[in-house]
């Protein structure tokens, strides 16, 4: 049962008025006045178009915006459904804003959403980020239908990616989750999400909410927890992903630290599960997969490579306590390769990650420090990957990622081996 104390009295009052619902859609916000209107109207049109018979509620947990986001949220109204659809909603369309105090954070927002889902006995929930620029009403259907009509518990998004977009997810998080948890989940960090009320209640009961989770950690935690607790997962194709990218500025190091930290944390939590697991399976994919010509990413390839080289040398004393001597030697050799021959082999990359994961588990050094030592190596692999696939098309890149995923699977025993190796001895 949800703890009522985590919900403000006003919020509870609004929920009481809404009563039981079939579908709950959440849009957590914090100062999103520029994008919130578009997102809310897209959701409203989507609900009207695809779920006009269901009871729906749109909830906005707000982290104390000062730019009037909640007011905009409340007042957005689709004036003329006739211009957009032939349908008009049959039922009252509910909108609830729930400001929470304290540090704006996803865990607070999601917790209040899940509590609401529990209290309102929602059958299906969907969560949308407030700053998506490419959202369409169809997304509502894509994320909710598999739950509402097909009985899935978690709908993870699938995007059309630009060629080298999202390499941390595609080259580390996704293949590692696939290899360890046995479910090939493409976007474990995607912020659009569909989930069943049952799963929301299950999440609420976990004692994760008092802990400090990072921004991207919750998505990973939710996905992996759903796998571990044997819920039904699927993916739904949403099209190209374009975000108002203010939060993903240039802080690669910070993002790597948060995302990978969350993943490693989950590995600790689910140790008993993934160690016994073998093989992996793809998830059912909903939605028509279309392709749009996307502007290619442009970036400073030289810069990334040079950064890798210099950083590895500077961090040797720290890497020494994380990596095995052999791996460290190999990494240092890679760093010394000439531009043309530069190549960070998949096998070495996987071994690097696994050794980091094991070291993180054993806390050989402060975990935060450990995670900070990873971004330079990530840059090395990225440089190599880009160099290798410079002329490849998107499909070829996908094949490469597939091969990398198999490498992660193949080396899984190595991770299990390292996990508890020399416990205490390296202290």
């Amino acid at each position: 049962m949800a703890e009522i104390s985590t919900v403000s009295e006003d919020f509870l009052r609004q929920l009481t008025a809404v009563g039981e619902v079939g579908i709950l859609v959440g849009v957590p916000t914090f100062n999103n006045r520029d994008t919130i209107e578009r997102v809310v109207s897209a959701i409203q049109v989507g609900l009207t178009k695809y779920f006009h018979r269901e009871r729906c509620v749109l909830i906005n947990p707000d982290g104390g915006s000062t730019d009037g986001t909640p007011e905009i949220f409340k007042n957005v109204s689709v004036q003329d459904f006739g211009m957009l659809l032939t349908a008009s909603p049959l039922r009252t369309f509910h909108r609830v804003t729930a400001p929470y105090h304290g540090i704006p954070g996803k865990e607070r927002a999601l917790r209040s959403l899940f509590t609401a889902a529990d209290l309102l006995r929602a059958k299906a929930c969907a969560i949308f980020p407030p700053d998506s620029l490419s959202i369409t009403p169809e997304w509502v259907d894509s994320l909710i239908r598999p739950v509402y009509r097909e009985g899935f518990d978690l709908v993870s998004p699938a995007y059309q990616r630009r060629k080298f977009d999202g390499l941390l997810v595609r080259g580390l998080v996704s293949p590692m989750i696939g290899a360890l948890y046995g479910r090939r989940l493409h976007e474990p960090v995607g912020s659009e999400l569909g989930l069943s009320g049952r799963l929301a209640c299950q999440f609420l009961q976990k004692d994760i909410w008092e802990q400090e989770m990072t921004t991207f950690g919750l998505e990973i935690w939710m996905a992996t927890t759903a796998i571990v607790d044997d819920f039904r997962l699927c993916e739904s194709f949403l099209g190209p992903k374009i975000q108002a990218a203010k939060q993903f500025g240039q802080d690669v190091a910070g993002t790597v630290r948060q995302v990978v930290g969350a993943l490693f944390h989950c590995l600790d939590l689910h140790e008993n599960f993934w160690k016994k697991r073998e093989g992996s399976e793809a998830l059912p994919l909903f939605g028509f997969q279309y392709n749009v010509a996307l502007e290619p990413l442009r970036f400073n390839r030289r810069g990334i490579l040079d950064t890798f080289r210099s950083h590895v040398e500077q961090l040797v004393p720290i890497l020494e306590s994380i990596l095995t001597p052999q791996t460290l030697v190999e990494v240092r050799n890679v760093a010394q390769l000439a531009d043309r021959e530069f190549h960070y082999p998949d096998e070495l990359w996987v071994r690097t990650i696994y050794e980091f994961a094991a070291a993180h588990h054993r806390a050989v050094i402060n975990r935060n420090h450990l995670l900070q030592a990873l971004p330079p190596l990530y840059r090395g692999w990225v440089s190599s990957f880009i160099l290798e696939n410079q002329k490849a098309d998107a499909a070829r890149v996908d094949q490469r990622i597939e091969a990398l995923s198999r490498e992660f699977e193949r080396l899984k025993p190595y991770l299990v081996d390292r996990w508890d190796a020399g416990r205490g001895g390296e202290r």
């Binding site: 008025a17 349908a87 049959l90």
Partner: protein, 544 residues
């Protein structure tokens, strides 16, 4: 009978068919003598007016709406004297009588049409609408799309086409001919002279045709109605005209004129939305349609109903709403007819007493004069295996005895089989058994009607919709002078709580009307009410 020119504003109207009410002579069909015998029942029920479906001589190809003689009674229902007797007895009990006036068309068996078609030179030729070409009035839609291909029909006798908006055996009268107007006025005067209190004007939007228009709701049609009304006002007092126009409220509004056209008109779109609201458990459909209902002149009134002799019509809803209604209320194809659902109230509410009560509670407290369909006061069922709309026109169930106490004829001789299934059959549902118990539906309906009639607020008061946050709760305030009645109802199948903003009436005490119990006085805080499944309250707000 007390005199009151605005009697229809407070009326509770009972709709019935002479054929199906009571058969006194044992031939299997009800007649006026039988109906007269049952007037005490209607007076006891508490209704104030009776609306009779057509009872005129007719080939009966459209349930009597195809009239072959306007000023007589169909022999199966008795003679004109029987009608006079019935009228007198009804008036003696304070019951007013409303009859049908089909003024758009006649039967093709009517002498007028027979004369008109006899030759192109006949004096009555121009009483109908004739044409050699069928290209005229192309923009008019065809109403009975299932049976008719054109609004023109070929007359082999006079070798010409005649105009008809409904069935081809119902030629439309030509209101551009002053003689027709006078003839129709003659018919009206005949019945009003006899003492009939009100006339239901059938199919009024289609009286006049004009090229290039849809031939509906034309100004010329309104002009005809206004002239009829003037005649009525010149010759009579306390008479009422009720327009049947299945249109959106803003179009129906025109039939009230500025109080110089019809006194009453049916509110068609409200009815399906009451059903929809209770199924969706959401007040939105009702609130939406009430907000889109225009104001009407003070002397006018809406006619509101839950069910009638036709199907539950779904013309005045959107496609999604219609699909939803079909899926929820008529999942079996057989229950659907034209654009509607041919079922009675009780089966639509799945026999749930709480829902039947709530629907009646809504009906009785909405702005307008409620119309009850015979049998619904005891929760009668229907028979969707009978053709057309006959499933909702089965004999009234008076008792658990022979032929449900309706007739002493052989059961095979009845004009329609009696409902006999274990749930809604006459052994289970009949007047006799329900009269015995205080808590039967019939007894409850009597109390409801009595309450409705205890005040003029329901018929004449203003309406203000309140908006508690809980959308499963519908609340509105009816107000007339210093009298205020608050209606709060729970449209949901589960218990609900609602907080009403009643600060404007701070200090008033709500008195629950059914039991006259006092509720806590209204203060500064939102007024909290809890309601059980499908429960409703009527509160009189009394300032102490």
């Amino acid at each position: 009978m007390p005199s009151d020119p605005l009697w229809y504003k407070d009326a509770v109207i009972y709709e019935l068919h002479v054929r199906g009410f009571y058969d006194a002579d044992g031939n299997g069909t009800g007649e006026f003598r039988g109906l007269t015998l049952k007037l005490d029942y209607l007076a006891d029920l508490g209704v104030s007016a009776i609306w009779l479906l057509p009872f005129y001589p007719s080939p009966l190809r459209d349930d009597g709406y195809d009239i072959s003689d306007y000023t007589n009674i169909h022999p199966a229902y008795g003679a004109l004297d029987d009608f006079k007797m019935f009228l007198e007895e009804a008036h003696r009990r304070g019951l007013r009588v409303i009859t049908e006036l089909v003024l758009n068309h006649t039967s093709d068996q009517h002498p007028w049409f027979q004369e008109a078609r006899s030759s192109r030179n006949n004096a009555r030729r121009d009483w109908y609408v004739w044409s050699d070409l069928i290209e005229r009035y192309k923009k008019a839609r065809i109403i009975f799309t299932d049976t008719e291909l054109s609004n023109w029909a070929w007359d082999p006798v006079s070798k010409s086409h005649y105009w008809h908006r409904f069935f081809s055996h119902q030629p439309d009268l030509n209101y551009d001919n002053p003689a027709v107007f006078e003839a129709v006025w003659g018919v009206m005067k005949f019945w009003l002279d006899l003492g009939v209190d009100g006339l239901r004007l059938d199919a009024v939007p289609y009286l006049v045709e004009r090229e290039g228009t849809a031939c509906e709701n034309l100004p010329e049609t309104h002009e005809v109605l206004k002239r009829l009304r003037r005649r009525v006002d010149e010759h009579f007092s306390e008479k009422m005209l009720l327009a049947e126009a299945n249109q959106w409220p803003k179009d129906v509004r025109q039939y009230f004129g500025v109080g110089d056209e019809c006194h009453m008109a049916f509110h068609f779109p409200l009815m399906p939305r009451m059903f929809m609201a209770i199924k969706l458990e959401d007040r939105k459909p009702i609130v939406d349609i009430l907000r889109n209902t225009p104001e009407i002149p003070d002397v006018c009134q809406w006619g509101i109903f839950l069910r009638n002799h036709d199907e539950l019509t779904l013309e005045m809803v959107t496609d999604e709403e219609r699909d939803y209604m079909y899926d929820e209320f008529a999942p079996e194809k057989r229950a659907q007819l034209n654009l509607g659902i041919r079922r009675r109230l009780a089966p639509l509410m799945e026999g749930d007493r709480r829902r039947i009560e709530l629907m009646n509670g809504l009906l009785m407290s909405m702005p307008g004069s409620p119309i009850l369909y015979y049998g619904d006061e005891i929760g009668m069922g229907d028979n969707i295996y009978l053709g057309d709309r006959n499933g909702v026109r089965t004999p009234m169930q008076w008792s658990g005895g022979w032929n449900a106490g309706f007739s002493s004829a052989d059961p095979e001789q009845l004009y329609s089989p009696i409902i006999s299934n274990p749930v809604y059959g006459y052994q289970a549902i009949n007047v006799e058994s329900q009269r015995r118990y205080d808590h039967s539906l019939l007894s409850w309906m009597k109390r409801l009607i009595r309450l409705r009639k205890s005040t003029r607020v329901f018929g004449r008061g203003t309406m203000e919709i309140l908006t508690p946050q809980n959308h499963r709760v519908l609340a509105y305030l009816r107000e007339l002078g210093s009298e205020r009645i608050l209606m709060v109802c729970n449209l949901s199948s589960q218990a609900q709580a609602a907080e009403l903003d009643l600060r404007r009436w701070k200090g008033s005490v709500p008195i629950e009307m059914f039991g006259s119990n006092l509720f806590p006085p209204i203060g500064d805080l939102p007024y909290l009410l809890t309601l059980g499944p499908y429960q409703f309250y009527w509160f009189r707000l009394r300032r102490l």
